[in-house]
C-alpha cells in the first residue's frame, strides 16, 4: 500500500491533503473536526495584527453552477481572520498540542514593514506551529490597504518580505502567490530569491461571478453594491495547473517546493497537481461545498491509484508529468490522429455533428438513421467532438501509424519527430541538419 505521508519543506504530514487558509481553518472547532476527519494538515486562516479586521455583515460568497446546481466555482469577499490575534494563537497552540502528527501552518498578513513581521513571528513560533505561509495573494479588501495581492503583484516586495521572515524565524516559510499577474514565474522567482522554502499557489482570482439583473448589483450584493472577489473551486483548476507547471519547469527554480492549490475536488485533481510538481496540495472549496468527509475519498482514491501504478510514495509522483510540459513549438507535427466514433456506444445525440459542422471543420457526416461518421478527409483531429460527446470513450482519437495516409493532407504519416522550429512555413526555421 502506497505511503501517503509527506515531508514538505520539513513539515511532516500523514497525507498530502491540507486545508487551505480560508474559512474552514478559521477556528479551533473547525480544525479539530478536520483533523478528526483525517486531513493531513491545515494552513490556519490568515492572522493579522490587532485591531483585527472586520468583515461585511451581508453575503460573502458568489457562485457559478453547472448542471443540477453543481458548484463549479465560488468567489468570496471575506477578509483575513476577524478575531483577535491572541484568540487565534491560543487555539493554534491547543490544536497543535493535541494533533502533533498533523501539519500546522499559519498564514500571515501584516503591513509591509519589518517591525510588523518581527512582532508577529515570535508569537506564531511560540504556538508550536510547523511553518508559516505569507499571504501575498488575497485579491480583495486587504489589497486596497497595501497588503495581500498588492504585495504579491510586486516581485521586489515579495523578495523583501520573504527575506525579513527568513531572518526572523526558524519556521519554514511558504509564499502564497496570486494568479492576478501576467507571468507567475516572476513573483515565484522573487520568493525563491528571498529564501522562501517553497511557494503555494494559486490564491483566488479577481472576479465578479454574476450580476443581479433586477437590482443591477454584482453578486454577492451588499446593500445594492458589489465588489470584486476571489474566485476558486473546480473552475479555476486549469489556470492553477498551468501556473504550477510554469514554476516547476522553470530553469531558475529547479526543485523549488510547490504546494498546489486551485479547484482540487477529487483525488484525481490532487494527483494531477502532484504530477505537475506539487509536493503537497491544499483544498478549500470542495470542503466548503461537501464538508470534511471528502478527505476519505481523497486519501483512498490517491492511494488506490498509486497502488495501481506502482508508486510507493508521494515523492515518486511529484513532478512526473513536468518533463512532458513543453512549448508549443516543440510539439510533434508528425503526430496525426483522427476521431473515431464507436457506433455501439453512440446515443445519437448529434452534439459532435453540431459542434463540428457549425463551429469546426465539417468532418462529421450525419447519415440516415442518425448515424454519425468521421470524414477523414476533413478531420483535423481538433478533439472538440470528443469534448462535447456526453458518453465517455464513445469518440476517441486514433493515431495514424507511420506509413498510413492522412486523407486530409494527402501525405503519408512520417515516423520522425518534426516540429515548428524546422517547419518550412516558419520564417525563422532552422534547416534540419
Amino acid at each position: 500500500m502506497a505511503d501517503l505521508s509527506t515531508n514538505f519543506v520539513g513539515i511532516k504530514s500523514p497525507n498530502p491533503f491540507w486545508l487551505a487558509s480560508a474559512p474552514p481553518t478559521d477556528k479551533e472547532y473547525n480544525v479539530r473536526r478536520a483533523f478528526e476527519a483525517g486531513w493531513g494538515g491545515v494552513v490556519w486562516k490568515t492572522l493579522g495584527l490587532d485591531p483585527h479586521v472586520v468583515n461585511v455583515n451581508g453575503p460573502r460568497y458568489g457562485v457559478i453552477y453547472g448542471a443540477d446546481r453543481r458548484v463549479l466555482g465560488i468567489n468570496n469577499i471575506e477578509l483575513i481572520t476577524d478575531r483577535p490575534l491572541e484568540t487565534n494563537l491560543s487555539e493554534i497552540k491547543a490544536v497543535k498540542r493535541d494533533y502533533p502528527d498533523r501539519a500546522m501552518v499559519v498564514s500571515l498578513m501584516v503591513p509591509c514593514e519589518e517591525w510588523a513581521w518581527k512582532e508577529i513571528l515570535p508569537k506564531v513560533e511560540e504556538t508550536g506551529a510547523d511553518g508559516i505561509e505569507l499571504n501575498f495573494g488575497c485579491p480583495h479588501g486587504m489589497s486596497e490597504r497595501g497588503m495581500g495581492a498588492a504585495v504579491g503583484q510586486v516581485p521586489e516586495y515579495i523578495e523583501m518580505v520573504t527575506r525579513w521572515c527568513k531572518a526572523n524565524t526558524r519556521m519554514p516559510v511558504l509564499v502564497k502567490l496570486t494568479p492576478n499577474i501576467t507571468d507567475v514565474r516572476y513573483p515565484a522567482r522573487a520568493a525563491h530569491a528571498g529564501g522562501a522554502d517553497g511557494v503555494s499557489l494559486i490564491n483566488t482570482i479577481s472576479s465578479i461571478t454574476s450580476v443581479n439583473l433586477d437590482t443591477m448589483s454584482p453578486e454577492p450584493s451588499i446593500d445594492g453594491k458589489g465588489s470584486h472577489g476571489g474566485y476558486c473551486g473546480a473552475a479555476v483548476k486549469p489556470i492553477a495547473l498551468n501556473m504550477v507547471a510554469e514554476i516547476a519547469r522553470d530553469a531558475e527554480m529547479q526543485g523549488f517546493p510547490i504546494s498546489g492549490i486551485g479547484g482540487i475536488t477529487t483525488w484525481r485533481d490532487a494527483a494531477e497537481f502532484l504530477s505537475l510538481g506539487a509536493g503537497s496540495v491544499q483544498v478549500c472549496t470542495a470542503a466548503m461545498v461537501y464538508g470534511f468527509g471528502i478527505i476519505k475519498e481523497l486519501n483512498a482514491g490517491l492511494s488506490e491509484w498509486m497502488d495501481e501504478k506502482g508508486y510507493t510514495s508521494i515523492e515518486e509522483v511529484t513532478g512526473r508529468a513536468v518533463p512532458n510540459v513543453t512549448d508549443w513549438q516543440y510539439l510533434n507535427l508528425n503526430y496525426v490522429t483522427k476521431a473515431r466514433i464507436d457506433q455501439d456506444a453512440c446515443i445519437k445525440c448529434g452534439r459532435c455533428y453540431a459542434a463540428c459542422e457549425d463551429t469546426s471543420h465539417q468532418a462529421i457526416a450525419m447519415k440516415p438513421g442518425r448515424v454519425f461518421e468521421v470524414v477523414d478527409e476533413e478531420c483535423v483531429a481538433c478533439n472538440l467532438c470528443v469534448d462535447v460527446c456526453p458518453v465517455e470513450d464513445c469518440i476517441t482519437m486514433e493515431e495514424l501509424q507511420p506509413g498510413m495516409m492522412d486523407l486530409r493532407t494527402g501525405k503519408v504519416v512520417e515516423a520522425d519527430y518534426a516540429n515548428w522550429t524546422t517547419h518550412p512555413n516558419n520564417p525563422s526555421a532552422k534547416a534540419a541538419e
Binding site: I347, K348, C349, M366
Partner: protein, 444 residues
C-alpha cells in the same frame, strides 16, 4: 351492512369518499420549480433532436427545455404553444413513453429519458395559470370558417385560423367543448376541470364563436354549412362503438367503456358511481386501460383486461400496461369473448384462447369462464355520420395533403380522418396543419 369491494353486483360507494378522492388525484403530481430545474438540466440539446421528430406536433423540445433551464418557463410555454396550442393537455395525456421520451437519447444512454412530458406541463401550467394568452390575432380577413367538432383537432384548427384573422364558428353536438379531452380521458390524467379551462384560455385569441349542442347529422348538415362559410373543417371524431359479436352481449351491465369513462369525468360525486365486484374489460387500447384502472380505483374487487392478441400487439403502451397492473388490474392475452351469460344481468363471460397461425388470429377451441358482474367493451370506435358524398378510406374520411377531403372547401382532421394515430397530439397537428392549408387557400 356497508358496501365493500367484495359486495356482489354493480354497486356505488364501494370505497369511502376519502379513498376515492385519493385514488382520483392527479396521476403525476406537477413538477415544482426545483424538480423542473433538475429535470431540465438532463437535456443534451441534441442536434436535429429525435424527440422533435417523434412529436407529431414537432415541438422544439430542446429549445423549450433550455428556456426552462435559463429561467424563462413562460418563454418555454410559448415555444410549445406555437406548435401545439393544446400543449397543456398533451403534457398530461400524451403517451410520451412511445413518442418524445422513447426517442430521447438519454433513454438509449441510461434507460431514463428526460422527463419531457412533465417539463412541458411545468411550462404550460405556469403560463396558463397566469391567464396570459401569448398570441395576438391578425387583422380580420373577413373570411368565415366552420369548424365542426370542438375536440383537439377542431380546437387546434380554430385557434390557428382565428390567429390568422379568420372568423371561426365551432359547432359541437355536446353540452361542453373539448371532445375526448373533456369526455374521453381518465379522470386522474386531467383533474380540476382542466379541459374546460384550457378551452377558455384558448378562446382568448378572439374571433371564435362556440355553438354547443349543434352536431353534424342532427342540428347541422354539411350541405347547410358549405354555402354559409368560406371553408369547413370536420373534426367530428369517432362516435360509434364496435360490437363484441359475442352471444349475450346485450345483457344488463355490459356497456361501452367510453360511456363509463365519460360518466367518471362528468360526475360530481364519485361515490355515486356504481361499479361491479368483478369487472372484465375487453380490448387492448388506452380506453381499455383507462376503464379498467378506474374500475379498480372506484373499488372493484377484481378487474381483468382481456385482449385477443399478444402483449406486443396491445396498442396501450407498456407503461400503460404497467400502470394497470400496479393498480391491481390483471392482464390476459390471447383470449376472445365468445359468450356472455347471466339471468338478465351478466354473471360470467366465456372466453376462447386464440393463437396467431400465420394466416391470422384463430380460436383454439379451448374455452374458460370468468366471473363478471360488469363488462366494458373497449374494442374501438368507428366513424358515424360521415356526410354523404364524401370519399372514405376504409372507415374514415379520406384526405389528401393537409386534410383536404374529396369535397371542395371541406377539410377534415383528428380521429375521423384517415391516417395517423388516434392520439390527442396527432389530432392537434392535423387540425393545425389543415388550418394553415385553409388559410393559404382562402388568401390565395
Amino acid at each position: 351492512m356497508t358496501t365493500t369491494p367484495r359486495t356482489s353486483g354493480v354497486q356505488a360507494g364501494r370505497l369511502p369518499p376519502e379513498a376515492l378522492a385519493e385514488n382520483f388525484q392527479d396521476l403525476h403530481a406537477p413538477l415544482d420549480h426545483h424538480e423542473a430545474t433538475v429535470a431540465a438540466d438532463r437535456c443534451y440539446f441534441c442536434y436535429d433532436a429525435p424527440c422533435i421528430t417523434a412529436c407529431p406536433t414537432a415541438i422544439d423540445i430542446p429549445l423549450f427545455i433550455r428556456q426552462i433551464q435559463s429561467g424563462q418557463p413562460d418563454g418555454a410555454a410559448k415555444t410549445i404553444f406555437e406548435q401545439n396550442i393544446l400543449g397543456g393537455m398533451c403534457a398530461r395525456v400524451c403517451p410520451t413513453e412511445t413518442l418524445c421520451e422513447e426517442a430521447c437519447v438519454r433513454e438509449a444512454a441510461e434507460g431514463k429519458p428526460v422527463e419531457i412530458g412533465r417539463l412541458q406541463r411545468f411550462a404550460t401550467d405556469g403560463l396558463m395559470s397566469s391567464g396570459v394568452h401569448p398570441f395576438a390575432r391578425a387583422d380580420a380577413t373577413g373570411k368565415r370558417v366552420a369548424v365542426v367538432g370542438a375536440g383537439p383537432a377542431g380546437l387546434a384548427c380554430a385557434h390557428r385560423l382565428a390567429m390568422h384573422g379568420h372568423d371561426v364558428v365551432i359547432f359541437d353536438g355536446r353540452a361542453k367543448p373539448g371532445g375526448l379531452n373533456e369526455y374521453g380521458i381518465a379522470s386522474y390524467k386531467s383533474v380540476d376541470d382542466f379541459a374546460q379551462s384550457e378551452v377558455e384560455w384558448l378562446m382568448q385569441i378572439g374571433g371564435i364563436t362556440l355553438r354547443s349542442g349543434e352536431g353534424l347529422g342532427a342540428e347541422l348538415s354539411l350541405s347547410g354549412l358549405r354555402p354559409e362559410f368560406d371553408a369547413v373543417f370536420l373534426g367530428i371524431g369517432l362516435s360509434g362503438v364496435n360490437a363484441l359479436r359475442a352471444d349475450g352481449e346485450d345483457r344488463e351491465n355490459v356497456s361501452d367503456a367510453v360511456e363509463f369513462i365519460e360518466g367518471l369525468r362528468q360526475t360530481g360525486d364519485l361515490s355515486s358511481l356504481p361499479v361491479g365486484r368483478s369487472v372484465v374489460v375487453i380490448g387492448g387500447g388506452m380506453t381499455a386501460v383507462d376503464a379498467a384502472v378506474q374500475s379498480k380505483l372506484l373499488g372493484a374487487d377484481e378487474v381483468t383486461i382481456a385482449y385477443r392478441r399478444g402483449r406486443e400487439n396491445m396498442s396501450a403502451s407498456r407503461y400503460e400496461q404497467d400502470l394497470a397492473t400496479s393498480k391491481g388490474v390483471r392482464l390476459m392475452f390471447n383470449v376472445q369473448p365468445v359468450a356472455v351469460y347471466g339471468n338478465g344481468a351478466v354473471r360470467e363471460i366465456e372466453f376462447e384462447y386464440t393463437e396467431n397461425t400465420g394466416s391470422g388470429l384463430t380460436g383454439t377451441g379451448e374455452t374458460f369462464k370468468l366471473a363478471a358482474d360488469q363488462v366494458f367493451k373497449a374494442i374501438g370506435q368507428t366513424l358515424e355520420g360521415a356526410p354523404e358524398g364524401m370519399t372514405l378510406d376504409g372507415n374514415k374520411i379520406a384526405i389528401t395533403g393537409a386534410g383536404r377531403t374529396s369535397l371542395a372547401g371541406v377539410w377534415a382532421g383528428g380521429d375521423c380522418a384517415a391516417g395517423g394515430d388516434d392520439l390527442t397530439v396527432t389530432a392537434v397537428a392535423e387540425g393545425r396543419d389543415a388550418a394553415m392549408d385553409i388559410h393559404a387557400s382562402l388568401m390565395g
